[in-house]
């Protein structure tokens, strides 16, 4: 049993990286992820890790160096946020296309313009189709646990894919929470030795990475990438089962809260799920059967499992902390995709909340649940997509 500490999300994830002890990290500072790599850098300066740190001149170069390092044949990590992730965008697809298991905590933050440093999910939602596995975290504890599991998931021989571990900027990255750390030896045993596949550093068996592939085979390569993604679900569950044995903390593809007998439910990612759970409790005490579903694995998205978990509901609200202007929120689109083939689909609404770090308050969840009560009674939806928490 490790220590119980009071730390920020950034501190907890930095600690997980210290315990995993990656061979190379390449990073560039960006609020609110700066503090994470800053803390990790002090582990390097104090000789607590074996990591070679590459302090690059941009996030584009950070991901490029991570790609080079991972192809060379070792364990690699970085961290970023917002504009940094946006600048990496080109390289994200290359990391995934080359099947390089890089682990990247992303401290979720809004995208410019206007410039805003606070938390929303616009950054990682923009990277949704990059071929990375995405795990979302409600708390510092979950971010710490997900970061450790991410190495095992991404490096699994059936998968070999990069993994993003997402947590909310400031709300989690800079808030002090209770976190249970594992012992160093437990973490090192859990992630195990890194097993390189086709490393560039094997100079006696030269490999070429990153060929030009045109109309003859590109289509097949991309199909193969999808096939790999279909294997991720089982690995995530297998790794979660091992992690539960080690930590006693249970993880799945998503978390349900008072959902089994619920009639109405909110689907929501990351830290706002915590606030919503409190409101669900207060509605339950009023006799209203409210529940919650919080996706953990957003890519690949577990459509069938989510659909099964939501199938009995009379009304669903999907709350998005990111927007698609002229479209629905990204989480809403996924939930629509999940319930698409169900008979007697429950009516659904999409509410956009908390952009640019706007506080998500209990009264916002209450308003949504009140609306769901009405929808459950009448089966009628007035406004499919709307914004909540706006200044009146």
């Amino acid at each position: 049993m490790g220590k119980i500490v009071a730390v920020t999300g950034n501190e907890a994830v930095a600690e997980s990286l210290r315990q995993v002890n990656p061979d190379v990290c390449a990073a560039y500072p960006i609020t609110p992820a700066t503090d994470l790599m800053q803390r990790f850098s002090s582990f390097i300066s104090d000789g607590k890790v074996d990591t070679e740190m590459v302090l690059v001149e941009s996030e584009h170069s950070a991901m490029s160096a991570c790609i080079g390092a991972a192809a060379a044949g070792g364990r690699v990590a970085t961290a970023t946020s917002s504009q940094g992730l946006a600048l990496m965008w080109e390289m994200l697809f290359i990391a995934a296309g080359d099947r390089l298991p890089i682990v990247m905590p992303v401290v979720n933050r809004a995208l410019s313009a206007p410039l805003n440093i606070h938390g929303d999910h616009s950054d990682t939602m923009g990277a949704r189709d990059s071929g990375w596995i995405q795990l979302y975290s409600e708390t510092a504890q979950e971010a710490y646990d997900n970061a450790i599991q991410a190495f095992r998931i991404g490096e699994h021989p059936d998968i070999r894919l990069p993994v993003m571990v997402c947590m909310d900027g400031f709300i989690v990255s800079h808030s002090i929470e209770r976190v249970e750390y594992l012992e160093d030896a437990e973490v090192r045993n859990f992630v195990g030795e890194y097993m390189p596949v086709n490393p560039l550093l094997d100079i006696d068996n030269p490999k070429s990475y990153g060929p030009l592939i045109l109309t003859d085979l590109y289509h097949e390569y991309k199909r193969a990438q999808h096939e790999v993604m279909t294997r991720v679900k089982n690995v995530v569950l297998e790794v979660a089962a091992d992690f539960e044995k080690l930590s006693g903390r249970k993880y799945g593809l998503f978390e349900t809260y008072r959902l089994d007998d619920a009639e109405i439910a909110i689907v929501i990612l990351n830290s706002a799920a915590g606030t919503t759970k409190d409101v669900v409790d207060s509605y339950r005490s009023k006799g209203i059967k409210a529940g919650l579903l919080k996706p953990r694995m957003f890519r690949p998205f577990p459509y069938e499992e989510v659909a099964a978990a939501l199938s009995h509901l009379k009304a669903i609200a999907v709350l998005d902390r990111a927007d698609s202007f002229g479209g629905y929120g990204p989480l809403f689109s996924e939930i629509c995709g999940a319930v698409m083939s169900m008979d007697g689909k429950p009516p659904m609404i999409n509410r956009i909340y908390g952009l640019g770090g706007r506080d998500y308050m209990p009264n916002q969840a209450e308003k949504v649940l009140d609306e769901l009560v009405g929808i459950a009674e009448t089966g009628k939806v007035h406004t499919l997509k709307d914004y909540i928490g706006l200044r009146e």
Binding site: E52, A70, P211
Partner: protein, 320 residues
């Protein structure tokens, strides 16, 4: 330490590390540059490659011309990518997980991927001090996308994005002096080379590999498609570039500038320009000023370089 003598007989007996069967155009300067660079050493080499002619023509689907470990990731990041490979090598050697086999790291980029879009990542990697050699094969425009101007394109050249028209006669600006800029990073070694002077080129590569830290060599690489020259003119043009002092051969080692090849007789720049269709309009009546300006630029830069080299030579004499 590389032991093979730099003599044609010995060099020609070496196994190619950049194999035939690649799909570069006939007469292209770039694969000649790559072969000379790789033949200059028998150290194990790992290379990264910026997107460009060399990359798209050397590794296609299941076929690769590279007999060394090679990675291409994108256009603007050959330096950052190889810096990651080199960092992993250092990490694993330091941890005792692999043997130190004195592996050398090279990044290859064209002028577009080096002077322009890859400039930031190159500058960053040089400043960080990775033990790597960056080789720019400079064909003076974006040849892979169809001869668009780059910041390496010389004054007056006709390209598809600065075509010689009725009002604007080709590229209005002079080219960027990247070798000078790289030297200004105070790296231990920066040089210019030409495949026409293969011995000088290979000596420079050899020297670079014996120096720890970041190195940069800028190598002129004629492109007959973009330069509108004859298919078999690559070596002749790369020699004329040196003989006219358009592309002086020099090195800056630990801040000391040395001209490595001085032309016996400095030829007029027109000798270099006239065999190339991209400069044809400069010879039209009324455009004499363009030739004058091109010559003035070459003269000024050659003068500056000679002064710089002379200054260091004097310094050495004094200390002796």
């Amino acid at each position: 330490m590389t032991t093979i003598p730099l003599r044609l007989k010995e060099i020609s007996r070496q196994e190619d590390r950049f194999a035939y069967g690649h799909r570069m155009c006939a007469g292209c300067g770039a694969p000649i540059v790559v072969k000379q660079v790789l033949m200059a050493t028998d150290y194990p080499v790992i290379a990264s490659n910026a997107t460009g002619c060399l990359e798209v023509s050397s590794c296609i689907s299941e076929y690769t011309a590279w007999k060394i470990p090679w990675i291409h990731s994108a256009f603007e990041n050959a330096a950052a990518t190889i810096s990651g490979v080199e960092a992993m090598y250092r990490s694993l050697v330091r941890q005792g997980r692999i043997d130190d086999r004195q592996v050398k790291f090279i990044a290859f980029g064209g002028d577009g991927g080096t002077y322009d879009i890859g400039f930031q990542s190159l500058s960053g990697a040089m400043e960080r001090g990775h033990d790597m050699l960056y080789i720019c094969y400079d064909n003076e425009a974006y040849m892979n996308t169809g001869i668009q101007r780059s910041s390496a394109t010389p004054f007056g050249a006709n390209t598809t994005t600065c075509p010689a028209g009725d009002v604007i006669p080709g590229k209005p600006q002079n080219r960027k002096d990247l070798t000078k800029i790289m030297a200004a990073h105070n790296i231990p070694y920066a040089a210019q080379a030409s495949p026409g002077h293969w011995m000088d080129l290979m000596k420079k590569v050899r020297k670079a590999f014996e120096i720890k830290g970041p190195k940069f060599i800028n190598i002129i690489a004629p492109c007959n498609r973009g330069w509108r020259s004859r298919t078999d003119d690559a070596i002749m043009l790369s020699k004329l570039a040196v003989d006219t002092c358009y592309w002086p051969l020099y090195e800056i080692e630990n801040g000391v500038t040395r001209i490595t090849v001085r032309p016996r007789e400095k030829k007029p720049v027109t000798d270099f320009l006239k065999g190339q269709g991209r400069f044809k309009h400069m010879f039209a009546p009324g455009n004499e000023w363009m030739i004058e300006r091109a010559q003035e630029y070459v003269d000024r830069e050659w003068e500056r370089l000679q002064k710089e080299a002379a200054c260091w030579a004097e310094d050495e004499e004094k200390t002796e």
